[in-house]
Amino acid sequence: MRRYAIPLLAFLILAALILTGIFGSRFVVYIAMRVMILGIFALGYNLLLGRTGLLSFGHAAFYAGGAYGAALFFLHVQKHPLLCITAGVALALVLAVIIGFFCVRHTEIYFAMLTLAFGMMVFSLLWNLRDITGGDDGLVGIAREPISLGFASIPLVKPGQYYFLVLVFFLLSLGLVYVIRQSPLGLILAGIRENDKRIEFAGISLKNYRLAAFVISGGFAGLAGALGTLLNSNTTPFSAHWTHSAEPVLVSLIGGLQTFTGPLFGSLVFVVLREIIERYTQNWMLWFGIILLVIIMGFRGGIAGAISELLGRKTPSAVGKEGGRP
């Protein structure tokens, strides 16, 4: 029975996602899109944090790279949505290669500080280069043009239509991250997290593999940024701010580090809980902070860890390196 549980569950969730797109109200569809976009961001990010064991506090820079890349491409070059998204991801990847090249020289707290510095550099440029980026107003008026395929065109204007594009990218990302995790690359990354000395002795370049993880996660952040820009039809410089960089970290942690599905649970909780809490009170951060405290103090496996414990499976170890600090 358990053999079929996971595929069945996946099928049910997929069916639910499709039905949400067809029958969901405007609001539900919008929320579902935000969950999926944050899911893409966190899923890619967790390749770096959960898989490789590197804590970045600058991934908002790549999200913003995707967002501004798509927006600038739309405003100055071409309005085709797929091309805009490609341009956004490309800019994010370029940024990730440049920034990652420097950042992977360090690990632990120095890595976190270095990514924070580079992320805030990108923020300061978005904030101050008014002529290009629109400064604190951001870029506005990014519309969702139909996707033209030559013989037909798919409209995206309505949220219910755009939903399916986001869903396609979400499923593609899900598949890609799954493949990467199972690939030799993914296994080496896990090896780096568990014991980087051994991996180095095996003749593997730590820097190159760390950079690979960094760039891949940056690319997913860029995809999330580009999709988010098309969803909201504008960009904001705060998408590059360090407080936004904290989001995928929180989401991964709530969902469960070192699990594949953790970031997805985390995104769902993060977006949906926020909507629910904000219905009753303005103080969603307060409640979120308390949830975070509870998870760190008591449930370090996150939601995914708690669920697999309920199902009677072995809990994934909550902490990357044994004993935490050297």
Binding site: F102, I109, L116, A117, S124, L129, V249, N283, L292, G324
Partner: protein, 302 residues
């Protein structure tokens, strides 16, 4: 062209403006130092990078404001009592939460302190409202002082004097007192300190509370300076404090002091001469130091 100022007139103008920009930079730097000192002390001993330190700064400012408004606008009373109240918060955080995550990996420690940022930012909004609060004037220091023909706020001069005083007091405390020596010993070798009978957990709590007090003191002193108190004020200063702590070398108080001077001057000169890139310069300096001298300007090489 006869109406424009001659070269001879312009030169002293330039000098004046540079002196004033320097003074402004020094006062900004001393603020960052007050916050960074606590952050550095906590990192140096507990090895935890405390995101909530900006929150202590914010709480210090709000509590100082709240107390002084109830005590007949007596700023000095607020400055003494406000940070002390924040110390209680710091004590509770260390004793009941942080203590349990020292053995965990970096993300758990950082996010635990981040959780308190979220909680207290909103708590401040609930108690004092989401808007900005005005700030009081300080008797005797509300005026300005003429320097080279231009007025400079007396309060900023006061801050420039307080910064080095705090630095001196901390140096004397850490180098010259029994307690300071124990703190330094535990910082360099926790196990050995515990083996010779130091109650390390209690010592950690005391260091955390002392660091909290320094951050909150910075906040209290900021009340007349920043003009407005806002719930997000801690998130801005904590990044400056991180930059300073990194430039000086994580854990080095001397480094944090000079790092704060550098960042203060850089930001005031940057704002004056290249406003587009002043923030960028700060972070490029931070990244540069991390890449080429990760131990910082004053940290010891590994």
């Amino acid at each position: 062209m006869g109406l424009g100022p001659s070269q001879a007139q312009r030169a002293p103008d330039m000098l004046e403006s540079i002196v004033h920009v320097c003074l402004a930079g020094l006062s900004i730097g001393m603020f960052i130092w007050l916050v960074a000192s606590g952050l550095t002390l906590i990192f140096g001993v507990l090895k935890v990078l405390n995101f909530a330190h900006g929150t202590f700064y914010m709480l210090g400012a709000y509590l100082c404001y709240w107390i002084l408004a109830r005590m007949g606008d007596n700023f000095w009373l607020g400055l003494i009592l406000g940070p002390l109240a924040v110390c209680a918060v710091g004590f509770l955080i260390e004793r009941f939460f942080l203590r349990h995550v020292y053995h965990l990996a970096l993300p758990y420690q950082l996010l635990l302190t981040f959780a308190f940022v979220l909680i207290f930012d909103d708590a401040v909004k609930i108690i004092w409202g989401a808007g900005s609060l005005g700030s009081p004037t300080v008797p005797g220091l509300s005026g300005s002082f003429p320097i080279l023909g231009r007025n400079f706020p007396s309060y900023s001069l006061f801050i420039i004097a307080v910064g080095p005083l705090v630095a001196l007091a901390m140096w004397a405390f850490l180098e010259r007192t029994w307690w300071g020596r124990i703190i330094r010993a535990s910082s360099s070798d926790r196990e050995m300190a515990a083996a010779i009978g130091v109650r390390v957990p209690a010592l950690y709590t005391s260091v955390f509370v002392l660091g909290t007090w320094l951050g909150a003191l910075g906040g209290g002193l900021a009340v007349p300076y920043v003009g407005l108190l806002t719930p997000g004020m801690g998130e801005v200063i904590i990044i400056d404090a991180f930059v300073v702590a990194v430039i000086g070398g994580l854990g080095s108080l001397k480094g944090a002091f000079f790092g704060a001077l550098i960042i203060g001057l850089l930001s005031s000169f940057g704002t004056r001469f290249i406003p587009t890139f002043d923030m960028f310069l700060t972070f490029i300096l931070m990244a540069g130091v991390l890449l080429w001298r990760p131990q910082g300007f004053f940290g010891e090489a590994k």
